[in-house]
């Protein structure tokens, strides 16, 4: 186990390094510079600015400076927001985005698994058909469309929920709904099909032959096996939700990291782009690592360590 974690740790470092490098060179290959919009700027001021932010240095020097900043977790000052550093922006924005993302994942996992399981247990029944109809809609409607519809109905027409921002529990409902519907639908469909498959397995028949209660058979014998494919897609789903938060934050005027990130790209605010990209990829890579660990717990056949001999 320890060996596995150490190995995975180095792989994570390598992954982050590759992402950082790609981001750096992609960013520099895009035309434009942070000071394009400043019409009044004269060449001397521009040169001074570039010097201050070390943009006058050769690319490889900038690259190594950048790697150093990653290693020290100090991503430097923002170019466009003179009083802010990338770290302060992250400290302010990320917790909100994180909250939105985590609530979304939680809602999606719980409701998706429940829905999928019920649909499988009532195969070809009314619950099954309605759940799957919901799933098809949930998967095909983009979250930004759903967000506008939700705002229009719940906030504007019915005046039930606040239309924007992130200041109370009530404020969290619509953005979470908008963001969680797609993932819920995907998880529900996956759970259903894998549950249907698991329910035909011999070990389920054997569990029935033991005279166990249906509840125990589903919860103890079927669900765990049925969830394996769901755990497998959790990694990509997390990535999707993470990027989804950017869009949803923009629509609901939520002061998360998304706003700064989008702004920074438009403005070529290099330190913010790089800092937040690296931060987010590190976060994601870590989550993927957690998913693998969870998978190992759910499926004992996956050996995270070499120990037991086969009999």
């Amino acid at each position: 186990m320890a060996i596995y974690i150490v190995k995975r740790f180095f792989m994570m470092i390598a992954t982050i390094l590759i992402i950082a490098t790609l981001t750096f060179f992609l960013m520099h290959s895009v035309p434009g510079s942070p000071f394009d919009e400043e019409r009044t700027s004269n060449p001397t001021i521009q040169a001074n600015l570039e010097k201050f932010y070390k943009l006058d240095q050769p690319t490889h020097v900038q690259y190594f400076d950048y790697l150093k900043s990653i290693a020290t977790f100090d991503f430097g000052p923002s170019i466009k927001k003179p009083n802010e550093t990338v770290n302060t922006l992250l400290a302010r924005g990320f917790p909100i985005s994180f909250e939105l993302g985590m609530v979304t994942i939680l809602v999606a996992v719980i409701s998706g698994i429940t829905l999928g399981t019920l649909a499988a247990l009532r195969h070809n029944g009314i619950i099954d058909y309605s759940a799957m109809a919901f799933a098809v809609i949930g998967i095909s409607v983009p979250n930004f469309v759903l967000a506008t519809v939700l705002i229009q109905q719940f906030a504007v027409n019915w005046n039930l929920l606040p239309p924007a921002t992130w200041s109370s529990r009530m404020h969290m409902i619509l953005p979470t709904l908008a963001l969680a519907t797609g993932p819920t639908a995907i998880i529900a469909r996956l759970t259903r099909s894998s549950m249907l498959e698991v329910l035909t397995q011999d070990y389920i028949k054997m569990a029935r032959a033991k005279g166990l209660s249906p509840v125990r058979i589903v919860l103890r014998h079927a669900l765990r096996n049925a969830l394996m494919p769901v755990v497998t897609i959790m990694g990509t789903m997390l990535a999707g939700i993470l990027t989804g938060t950017f869009v949803i934050e923009k629509i609901f005027a939520i002061p998360g990291m998304g706003k700064y990130f989008v702004e920074s790209i438009n403005n070529r605010d290099y330190p913010v782009i790089m800092g937040s990209t690296v931060f987010y990829s590190a976060f994601l890579v870590f989550m993927l690592f957690l998913v693998d660990i969870v998978y190992g717990f759910i499926d004992p056949r996956i050996k995270l360590h070499r120990k037991e001999g086969d009999a």
């Binding site: 070990y203 032959a209 033991k210 166990l212 765990r224």
Partner: protein
């Protein structure tokens, strides 16, 4: 027989007394007086996209206490459906018992609701499945899979249940049972897994064991070991066994009586001796002739030509007509009644019918 039941009950109490040998157990094999299970005129169908499969079409047989009844027949003849129906495991709503009864010690199991049936499943009747590689849940430790049945049906502590499970693992021949309880199925070989499946089936000390092709998925050497285990268990506990197989070698080894099934019917039933040495049904004869024998060369093997009838639209007459070298006009039109050859031997074939016999004379 009451005495034997008491012994079984007594065993239920202490973990240490698992499967101890009642004195009468050895004798019981010859006695066969008490009918334990009586299957009567069972009709089971499955609705499918292609129509209704009439899997069982009037299956009847008795099972006596302490005996091993082998059910043999080609693949698809309804052996597993018979087992599943007795066990209450017919997949609903596709599968349906259309007629007939399964009397277990006088109680009709087909009439029980699901929760009452659960008190029979694994308690009075246990089932052993064909493929030990898939019969155990890959995500649960075998300790849990062993004890959960006991803990569901009896008020025993985890400790007691574990003690009994460990004892049982020992009985079925798993070394280091205490250690093994903590392991997962993938850490065992196929033969070992089948031993575990057998231990699971025995945990509540059932009176009837239904084994559906328990050795088909195993190597030949392991097959023999598992069969010996069955004999040993029966000797110790006096459990009745229904052994489903298409391997006549297996039958020869451990069966007391044999029921031959064809196209959803029992077409011949008798003691092992009767069925092996004086088979009456042409299908049984064909089946026996197709068994590879050491004294015959491979080419001399005679499998029965043709295939069994379509169970979507089974023939009204004898289903073996199309393959039968002795088929007559009447065979195709009317199903032969059951003719008793002896007290223990019965066959469904016009050749044995009194009226047909007269015709030949």
């Amino acid at each position: 027989m009451n005495e034997d039941e008491n012994t079984l009950k007594k065993n239920g109490q202490g973990g240490a007394a698992v499967l101890t040998k009642p004195e009468a157990a050895g004798k019981r094999k010859q006695v066969f007086s008490e009918v334990m299970l009586s299957v009567r005129d069972l009709y089971v169908s499955f609705r499918t996209f292609g129509g209704e499969v009439q899997a069982l079409r009037g299956v009847s047989f008795d099972l006596y206490k302490g005996e091993t009844l082998a059910i043999v027949g080609e693949s698809g003849c309804g052996k597993s459906v018979t087992a599943n129906t007795i066990m209450g495991l017919i997949p609903e709503p596709a599968g349906r018992i259309k007629n007939g009864s399964v009397l277990f010690k006088g109680k009709d199991l087909t009439k029980l609701d699901k929760s009452k049936m659960r008190k029979v499943q694994g308690v009075d009747i246990s089932m052993i499945f064909q493929d030990p590689m898939t019969a155990l849940n890959p995500t649960l430790k075998i300790g849990e899979q062993l004890t959960e049945g006991l803990r569901t049906h009896q008020k025993v502590s985890i400790g007691e249940a574990r003690k009994k499970a460990i004892k049982l693992l020992e009985v079925v021949g798993i070394p280091n049972p205490e250690e093994r309880m903590k392991q997962y199925p993938h850490q065992f070989s196929g033969g070992m897994r089948q031993r575990i499946v057998i231990a699971i089936a025995l945990i509540c000390e059932p009176e009837l064991l239904i084994a559906d092709e328990p050795t088909t998925a195993l190597d030949v050497t392991i097959q023999a070991q598992i069969l010996e285990l069955f004999e040993e268990i029966q000797e110790r506990t006096g459990v009745s066994i229904i052994l489903i197989t298409h391997d006549l070698g297996v039958v020869a080894k451990i069966a007391d009586r044999i029921a031959v099934m064809y196209a959803g019917k029992v077409i011949e039933i008798g003691t092992k001796r009767e069925v092996f040495y004086t088979p009456q049904h042409p299908y049984t004869k064909g089946l026996l002739a197709s068994v590879p024998r050491l004294d015959l060369k491979e080419e001399e093997l005679q499998p029965i030509e043709g295939t069994p009838p379509d169970l979507f639209a089974p023939p009204i007459g004898c289903p073996f007509t199309a393959r039968c070298p002795f088929a007559m006009e009447v065979c195709d039109r009317i199903y032969p009644g059951t003719t008793d050859i002896s007290v223990t031997h019965a066959v469904d074939c016009w050749l044995q019918d009194e009226r047909a016999k007269k015709l030949f004379d």
